[in-house]
């Protein structure tokens, strides 16, 4: 479904991603594990076309997205839920969600998707007319995911969805992710909480210093000695 | 990082234009001298601005305030108490220093940054302009007409242009020397550190507020000397030609065009912009507005194609050219 081929990405003069290649097949959850600053967010941002590629190509559903503007990538169904949520803080919850379904297919199916999001996160329905910034951290993360869902993603990329959240909320988040996956959504998950994310993933890879140092089945990675030591705190 | 060999080279390179500048008044006509005075004078003012805005990154849109305070102080003392502007300019600098410290203190105390600081300085200059327009003791809108005393070097008045030329040249050289000294001193390191990362500078023991206020004060005091020069050269000042926002624009444009935060930037900017204004005016002055239209176009072109200023832009281009 997503085919990332030999991409190199620079930030300033620093090469952050070095010849990264991987594939994501439809219906799976794939986890990216790695230390802070290894280039995980850079990876997601280059797939979203926020950051330019130095070389390499990205194909999504057979289409080359390496030259498209960011909003067209979203329209194709390649949607990112960014780290730090990036909500429109002074807009209401409803307005935030509407912005998710701003264009194309998302706009046409807006009211249906809205119902879906509200059934997924009932709390958002109650807070419909509140400003986003008045929500708690967990609610904001739900809103961020809801807003992403409004774009009708085929592949959802989540960047640190459990960052700074209470354990209970983290559990809900992971539940939601699994549920979305069961309903047929493909998911690329970047998570600090490697143990948790690997446990729900089908596949995963480890990104260190801009290189993929390991990839394979999630269980394999979780049981690897190195990853255990470095990221699982065991 | 030793300075001795490049240092020597630097002096030899410097000496050629310096000799040309020194002997220029012998063979140059009055008009060329006049333009040169303008170039030096604006290079000086722009360097003063650069010390604050280029190095410290605190963008001032109101340097006319300091120019005006300097000009008014020395001229007022001269016309009312016959105090020679040679002394008056130091008093002017002192007053301007106080104004600068005041503006700096209250702006930075409340943490004004970026566009907010810029707009605040612009407002301060406007306030001074309106105030002086309505201060009868300062001549109000009529401004101050300096008493003519013929050729009186002790009173900062001269028959010809050459003395003004040398004064402007010295002012420019002094400002360059000051900027150069600052760049290599602790203060300069701190200024640049504040510009590039204020939080980090603070963590490294830099009293960022103090150094920002120092930068405003220093820049203000130096600009005031320019004010006295302005008054003595024109012999007439009024709020609209000293405190005007356009004067502030004129001052800062040279630095930005030449390259902010570099020693040479303001000088290069002035050598480009001042003659440019003269040339466009003498060639295109025939139709109202044409030359200033060109001027505006050039400014926009610089922003789009050489956003770091002409000097760093050219340097970058040259290095690329050499490496290829």
């Amino acid at each position: 479904m997503l085919h990332v081929n030999e991409i190199n990405v620079h930030r300033g003069r620093v090469r952050v991603l070095k010849n990264i290649s991987f594939r994501i097949t439809e219906g799976e959850i794939c986890s990216v594990v790695g230390p802070n600053g290894a280039g995980k967010s850079t990876l997601i941002n280059s797939i979203s076309r926020i950051l330019p590629l130095k070389s390499g190509s990205i194909h999504f559903c057979g289409q080359n997205v390496g030259r498209l503007p960011p909003h067209s990538v979203v329209e194709l169904g390649l949607v990112q839920i960014p780290e730090g949520r990036r909500l429109f803080r002074s807009l209401t919850v409803l307005e935030n969600l509407e912005m998710g379904g701003y264009q194309g297919e998302g706009k046409r199916k807006r009211s249906e998707t809205l119902q879906m999001v509200f059934s997924l996160f009932p709390i958002l329905k109650d807070r419909k007319y509140q400003c986003a910034e008045t929500l708690s951290g967990g609610e904001q993360q739900m809103l961020a995911i809801g807003r992403g869902l409004m774009c009708l993603p085929k592949l959802l990329m989540l960047d640190e969805p459990s960052l700074g959240l209470a354990p209970l909320i983290v559990r809900i988040m992971f539940d939601v992710i699994e549920r979305l996956n069961r309903n047929g959504m493909t998911i690329l998950l970047v998570e600090q909480n490697a143990r948790k994310s690997l446990s729900i993933s089908d596949r995963g890879f480890v990104l260190e210093n801009g290189l993929i140092t390991m990839s394979g089945k999630a269980e394999e990675i979780a049981s690897n000695e190195h990853t255990k030591k470095a990221y699982l705190g065991l | 990082m030793t300075m001795s060999s490049p240092g020597k080279k630097l002096y030899t390179v410097l000496i050629v234009p310096l000799i040309i500048f020194l002997v220029l008044p012998i063979f140059a006509g009055s008009y060329l001298l006049h333009i040169m005075i303008f170039i030096f004078f604006y290079a000086y003012l722009s360097q003063c601005w650069n010390i604050l805005s280029g190095y410290t990154g605190q963008f001032s849109l109101g340097h006319a305030a300091f120019l005006g305070v300097g000009a008014y102080t020395s001229s007022f003392l001269f016309s009312q108490y016959s105090l020679t502007p040679w002394v008056g300019m130091f008093i002017g600098a002192l007053v301007s220093l106080c104004v600068g410290l005041f503006i700096g203190h209250i702006c930075f105390r409340f943490g004004l940054k970026g566009a907010f600081f810029a707009l605040a300085t612009m407002a301060f200059a406007e306030i001074l302009r309106i105030l002086f327009l309505n201060l009868p003791s300062m001549g109000g809108a009529q401004g101050l007409l300096l008493p003519l005393r013929g050729n009186a070097p002790l009173l900062y008045q001269f028959e010809g242009k050459a003395p003004f030329y040398y004064i402007a040249l010295i002012m420019m050289l002094v400002s360059v020397a000051v900027a150069y000294a600052i760049e290599r001193s602790k203060t300069g390191f701190y200024f640049k550190a504040i510009h590039q990362n204020e939080e980090s500078a603070e963590a490294l023991g830099v009293d960022t507020k103090k150094y920002k206020v120092i930068a405003v004060g220093l820049s203000a005091a130096m600009t005031a000397f320019g004010g006295t020069f302005f008054a003595q050269y024109f012999m007439y000042i009024q709020p609209d030609n000293t405190y005007s926002t356009f004067v502030s624009f004129d001052i800062m444009l040279r630095s930005i065009i030449g390259g902010m935060g570099t020693v040479a930037g303001p000088v290069i900017g002035s050598f480009i912009l001042t003659p440019l204004a003269e040339i466009t005016r003498s060639f295109l002055g025939g139709k109202s507005g044409a030359h200033l239209m060109i001027y505006g176009l050039i400014l926009m072109a610089v922003c789009i194609f050489l956003p770091q200023g002409v000097y760093p832009g050219i340097k970058k281009w040259l290095t690329r050219f050499q490496s290829e």
Partner: protein, 417 residues
């Protein structure tokens, strides 16, 4: 080292620059066949409109002098105008004056507002180049002991004197003497100094100042000021306004129903033909102090003929600024004729001995054109009144073309409210 490269490149730029300017010729004097006359006017900037009118006057007079055979004592040499733009800024004016002097002009003529006048006259004096001042009115211009500056027009303080004389004459001739004055002035040099003169002169003529209301000429809404003026109830309003504020004030006066016995405005915006264009009949009954007006009654039809010729060429009457600029060229031509030389010193001496008048020369101002030791001519300020069918000179009585309508009818009486 970075700095070394900076300096190297700096040197390069300096050398290129010097080369470019070095190619320009040094100071040289014009061929006798052509006498270069330098003119420093505002072609751009906020007072550009003034510069444009001044240029018409200069051009018209120059063509007239040249058409009549040029300067005969110099073998029929023609005048050639070299125009510099001061961008309405004193420092640019200085710069342009320097340039013109470098280009070898024999004499200079200033054509701008007083603040620029100050600056440029200083340059001329320094270079011992005679300069005629047809437009700047600040008193101090001829009070600095300069030797090369000759002013054709009046001093600003004389406008205060003449307006008050006119008000007094209006009262005496109609039997309805005004008592109080309201001063409504813009707040730059011109307005402030005139207001000062009015305040000090008013008691001498028996008037009381009911209030002084300065405002900024860039005003966006004048109604608070007018409503204050209204509250002060002056019999006479004396005004110093530029064009934009004059338009605004006139409209606002009607809007707020402000009435008085007479409004007398000192030149500036009110004397601009575009004033009436912009306010139409609201302008009626306003007295305007002019530098000159084409309805001035002079000997014979000389003034009318000159004006007609001008109007034929440019489609408009000679206005205040153009009139003095026109005379300035004639005065200069006369001096050149007498000096028989383009030498600046000789020309200066000839100018100092100028003695022309409207009867036996082509000048169009009805006062003798000669300069006292300060370089000042004894100018008078004619006052006109805008009436339904046009604007006519009403004062001084000996040059008047019409009888004034005084006191002016109220807005209600005029059916405009």
């Amino acid at each position: 080292m970075e700095s070394v490269k900076i300096i190297q490149k700096g040197t390069f730029i300096v050398l290129v620059f010097l080369f470019v300017f070095g190619l320009l010729p040094g100071e040289s004097f014009a061929e006798p066949q052509k006498i270069k006359v330098g003119i420093v006017v505002s072609k751009t900037g906020p007072v550009a409109f003034m510069g444009r009118d001044a240029l018409l006057g200069f051009e018209f007079a120059t063509d007239r002098v040249n058409g009549a055979g040029g300067i005969k004592s110099l073998g029929g040499a023609k005048l050639e105008l070299v125009v510099g733009d001061n961008e309405s800024k004193p420092e640019v004016g200085m710069s342009e004056t320097e340039r013109l002097i470098k280009e070898g002009v024999s004499a200079l003529i200033e054509g701008g507002v007083s603040s620029i006048g100050f600056a440029v006259t200083q340059v001329a004096e320094k270079h011992k180049t005679p300069m005629l001042v047809p437009l700047s009115v600040a008193d101090a211009i001829t009070e600095r002991g300069f030797k090369y500056i000759f002013r054709l027009d009046f001093k600003a303080s004389w406008t205060a004197r003449d307006t008050l004389r006119c008000v007094k004459w209006l009262g005496e001739s109609s039997g309805k003497m005004a008592k109080t004055l309201g001063l409504l002035t813009e707040d730059t040099m011109w307005g402030q100094s005139t207001a000062k003169a009015w305040k000090s002169l008013a008691p001498k003529y028996g008037f009381k100042v009911a209030g002084h209301f300065p405002y900024s000429k860039k005003v966006q809404d004048i109604s608070p000021t007018i409503s204050k003026l209204k509250a002060a109830r002056p019999d006479i309003v004396l005004q110093c306004s530029y064009l934009n504020d004059a338009v605004l004030i006139t409209r606002t006066m009607r809007e707020l129903d402000f009435n008085c016995m007479a409004r007398i405005a000192c030149g500036g915006g009110h004397s601009d033909p575009r004033f009436i264009e912009n306010v139409k009949d609201l302008a009626d009954y306003i007295f305007v102090l002019h530098m000159w007006h084409h309805t001035i009654k002079g000997p014979g039809t000389k003034i009318q003929d000159t004006n007609a010729a001008f109007k034929k060429r440019y489609g408009e009457d000679i206005n205040d600024w153009a009139s003095y600029c026109y005379d300035a060229i004639l005065v200069l031509a006369d001096a050149l004729e007498r000096a028989g030389s383009t030498d600046r010193q000789k020309l200066r001496d000839a100018l100092a001995k100028t003695d022309m008048n409207i009867e036996d020369s082509d000048i169009i101002h009805p006062f003798p054109m000669r300069f006292d030791e300060t370089g000042q001519a004894p100018a008078i300020c004619p006052i006109t009144q805008i009436q339904k069918d046009g604007e006519f000179t009403v004062w001084p009585p000996e040059n008047a073309a019409r009888w004034p309508i005084y006191p002016m009818p109220t807005w209600k009486e005029r059916g405009m409210r």
